[in-house]
Each structure stands twice: as C-alpha cells, then as structure tokens.
C-alpha cells in the first residue's frame, strides 16, 4: 500500500485532461451555482432551506449519476484496455489500484461538489439572504456523502466484470433501480406485506427503515433532519415523533456504510479475480 498516491494522481490527471471529463465536472458545479442564483429571484430572504427545497429534485438525480459515472469505468476501463496487467507489473498492489482510484476520483467529486455548493451558498448569502453555517456544512456534508456512496458503488461494480459494455449496463441498471424505481416502490411493499399479514394500512417502522436504507432516500432523511427540519412533520413515518432509527443521525452512519462496504467488497472481489 504505497503506490496509491501515484494511481490517484494519474487518475485525476486523466479525468481533468479529457474534454468530456472537464465538461461534466463544470456542468455539475454550474448546476449547484445556478441554483443559488435562481432561488433569490423568487424568494425573499432566502436561506439554505430554500436552496435545498429548490435543488433537491435535481441533486437527487445529478449527484448519484455523477458519482456512478466517475466510478463505473475506474477499474474495468483499464482492464479492458489491457493496462491493468501492465500497472500491476509495477510494484503497485491491487489494493493500491482500488483505493487509489477511489481517492483520486473521490477528490474530483469532493472539489466539484464543494465548489458548486459554496458558490451557490455565496449567491444565496449575498446580497439578499442569510446562510447559517451549520446548515451549509450539513448540506454540503450530506451531498458529499451521497456522491461518495454512489462513487463507491460504481467502483465496486467496475471490479466485477471484464467487459466495458457489461459495466455500463450494470451501472445504468443500478442507477435506474436505486434512484428512479426504488423510491416509488412503497405501494408494492405495502401490498406485499399486507398479503403476508405483516402490515395494515401503512408500512410498519421496520419496513420503512429497510426501504429507506437506499442512499438517495437516506440523503433525503439527512436533509429533512438537518437542513430543512420544517418538512419533518409532513412525512408520516419520518417525523421527529418517529423512532430513533428513522432520524437523521443513523441515516448519516448508514450512508457511511454505503461508502465503506462497497469499497471493501469491491476490493475483496477484485483481489481474487483472475485477470
């Protein structure tokens, strides 16, 4: 585990060097900045809560997509091109490659989202609004956690297969399942549990917990607790009256697990792959 800085550095250079990479990074940052520009035109005395309310729908798609797109070619791209065996003939271990790529791409994600959100918050603060520092830090941290979670999942996916096409299919399938379909599945779960006589009229708390353990729903829960707490009363099961495991704090830890477990799992899988 000494070669990861080299891997990370080369990875960052490759991402920033390509025109598509630059355009994608600029686009994500610009979306967050322009959100900060637009909110004060319609709201008087805007705060981070207004910013969150305006941009959450976009962020829920954009940040997972950005994380996955940053991650999904990380290992399989080199493997398909035959560079991976070459890299491994240097004194780099497989752990160097997985963690180096995670750190390099994570840094790109970190800088992009941080710059975007800080720019947006600056445009909220000046000249009309007021940005509370704790809300800003919570919002930034939650969005970063969401991005890192999908980056980790993407990198884990890229260790699974040797074909680029399959990696692409996996990635977009996962994006569709997690971000598009999963949050809409409440009704199906309710029906299924009612059929099993485990629920009546609404989902029991443990089922909400299981259903909500998906990163983008955890992200919503974190934001509803720390950035937009006035929304807490609207969601029946997510209210502050709900049990402790449906609050924001445990959701943060679960998001952390979504970062750690896929990374470790991806590495363990990759370690015993025959290249």
């Amino acid at each position: 585990m000494t070669g990861w800085p080299t891997v990370a550095r080369k990875d960052i250079r490759g991402l920033i060097g390509s025109r598509t990479g630059k355009a994608g990074i600029a686009f994500v940052a610009l979306v967050f900045v322009s959100g900060g520009y637009i909110v004060p035109t319609t709201t008087s005395d805007p705060t981070m809560t207004d910013y969150d309310g305006f941009i959450r729908g976009i962020a829920l798609f954009l940040v997972p997509l950005f994380g996955l797109l940053l991650g999904y070619r990380a290992v399989v791209g080199e493997r398909a091109a035959g560079r991976l065996t070459l890299t491994l003939s240097f004194p780099h271990s497989r752990a160097d490659i997985v963690f180096g790529k995670m750190i390099g791409r994570g840094l790109v994600l970190f800088v992009t989202i941080t710059v975007g959100i800080l720019g947006g918050a600056a445009l909220i603060e000046y000249p009309f609004g007021r940005v509370a520092l704790d809300r800003l830090v919570s919002y930034l941290g939650a969005t970063l956690l969401l991005g890192f979670a999908f980056l980790a999942v993407g990198i884990a996916l890229s260790t699974l297969t040797a074909s680029l096409r399959r990696a692409t299919v996996f990635t977009f399938g996962l994006f569709f399942l997690f971000v598009v379909a999963w949050p809409q599945l409440t009704g199906f779960f309710l029906q299924g549990l009612e059929y099993l006589n485990l629920a009546s009229d609404e989902l029991p708390n443990w089922a909400v917990f299981v259903h909500g353990a998906e990163p983008s729903m955890l992200y919503k829960r974190v934001l509803d607790t720390y950035v937009s707490p006035n929304k807490l009363t609207s969601g029946a099961a997510l209210g502050s009256a709900g049990p402790w495991y449906l609050q924001g704090g445990p959701a943060v830890w679960l998001l952390g697990c979504w970062i750690l477990l896929p990374t470790i799992g991806g590495y363990l899988q990759f370690r015993r792959t025959d290249l």
Binding site: Y37, P40, T41, L123, Y126, P127, F128
Partner: protein, 271 residues
C-alpha cells in the same frame, strides 16, 4: 540574473526600429499639437491644456504600453531568439527582467522626450506654465503606461502564439480603459438579480471601480495635480480607501501581478 545585457540589447534594437520613432513622433504631435491648437484659439491657459490632455493621455499612453509590451517575450519565442538567449548564461527570470527594463526605459524615454520638446512650446506661449505640475503629470503618465506595458508583457509570457497575445492584450486594453466601470456595474446588476438598486453603491463596487487602472490614473491626476476630472465612480464617495496612495498602489498591483503570473507560467513552459 544577467539582465543588463538583455536590456541593453533590447534598447539598442529598438532605437534602430521605425516603431519607436513613430511612437515618439506621435506623442510629440499629441503634446505639441494640442498646445499649438490652444495657442491658435488665443489666450492659452495651462490649466485648460492639462485638463484637455488628461483624458487623451488616459487612452493613448496605455495603447503605447500595449504596443511596446506585447512582443516582449512571444516575439523572442516565435523567432527562436529566446532559446538562443537562454543557451547563454541567462536565466528565464533574467530574460524577463531584462526585457521589462528595456521596454519600460524605452516607453519612459519616448514619453519624456516628447514631453520635454513640447514643454519648450509651452514655456514660450503659456504664461501660466507650471513645470512641477507638468513633470508630475508626465511621471504619472509613465507609471500608467508602464502598467499596461507590464500587463501586455505578462500576457506575452503566458500565451503561446503572438496572435493570442495580441487579441488578449487589446482585449485587456479595451476592457480596462473603456469598459471597466461598466463591467463592474453589470456584475452588480446581475448579482442583485436585476432589481433596481438605490442610494450609495456597495463598498465593493466602489472599490472595484476605483482600482480599475483608468479610474485610478484619472483620480490621481485630478486629486494630486488638479488635472482633468475626478472619475464619476468615486466623485462623491465617502469611502476611506479613496486616496491617491491606494490608487497608485492599484496601478502598481496591475503591473506586478500579471508579470508575476506570467513568470510562473513561463518558468515551466516548454519553449
């Protein structure tokens, strides 16, 4: 840092070029022509002369600075002389310092010589001629021209083809002399989401407008030498940073920062 040889060589070449002489002739015609015009109109006043000269100098001296500065490094680079010079015991910093000293001396000499010749006319025809005010005026003009010369030289170090350098240098000239205040006001309007603003302008707007080189130059002239008019952006500002010292500092900053940035990028450029 063997820059003296480079500066001397640069000056020696410039003396044999038509451009430097044309510039000298242009400035002399400008300074002297305006004086002759006022004499023709009768009852020449030095006050009126210097008031009329200030806006003209504010637009033409930067142009001279840009013209003298833009080729400083890129010309050497494109003709291959830079590689040759650097194969001798000159460092890149030495090359830059030598070029800057040479070109700045040239600009100062051209303006000062033209002004000196013009002052003979002034001395003869203008009874209210004040040598100290005129010298001060010319000195500030030289500083102002040097600012633009160094901006152009900084661009000349950073960019890799002379066409880009020319475009960027003239863009900087137009943006900094004509449109600086407009750009600042536009930024303010966009930031305030196109709502009308009233009352005193924001402090940063005043500061940003004030440190624009053209505003600073005109402010120093009006405040110290009573020449020309105080720029509209700061004319009734009560902000405590609106002083001649800050204005001069802004001019120096506009000169040094581009050169510093240019040096940092030129230092590691592959020639």
């Amino acid at each position: 840092m063997n820059w003296q040889a480079i500066a001397r060589n640069d000056l020696r070449k410039a003396i044999h070029e038509r451009g430097a002489w044309a510039l000298f002739a242009g400035f002399f015609l400008g300074f002297g022509g305006l004086a002759a015009l006022l004499v023709q109109l009768g009852d020449p006043e030095f006050e009126g002369y210097i008031d009329l000269l200030a806006p003209g100098v504010g637009l033409l001296v930067p142009l001279a600075g840009i013209i003298l500065g833009y080729e400083a490094i890129i010309g050497e680079r494109e003709s291959g002389t830079a590689v040759l010079s650097l194969s001798m015991p000159h460092s890149r910093a030495g090359l830059i310092v030598g070029k800057l000293v040479g070109r700045t001396t040239l600009l100062a000499t051209v303006i000062a010589a033209a002004a000196f010749l013009a002052s003979v006319i002034l001395l003869y025809f203008f009874p209210s001629f004040s040598a100290s005010r005129f010298v001060g005026f010319i000195a500030i003009s030289i500083v102002y021209g040097t600012t633009f010369l160094w901006i152009a030289a900084g661009l000349s170090m950073t960019l890799s083809t002379s066409r880009r350098v020319i475009a960027a240098a003239f863009g900087a000239y137009i943006g900094l002399t004509l449109f600086w205040t407009v750009l600042i006001d536009l930024t303010e309007t966009v930031l305030f989401r196109f709502r009308p603003t009233s009352g005193e302008p924001e402090t940063w707007v005043t500061l940003a407008s004030f440190i624009g080189p053209n505003t600073s130059f005109n402010y120093v002239l009006a405040e110290v030498l009573d020449a020309g008019t105080v720029p509209a952006a700061v004319v009734d500002s009560s902000a405590n940073f609106v002083t001649p010292a800050v204005a001069l500092l802004a001019l120096v900053g506009w000169a040094i920062l581009p050169v510093l940035g240019g040096f940092l990028s030129f230092r590691q450029d592959d020639l």
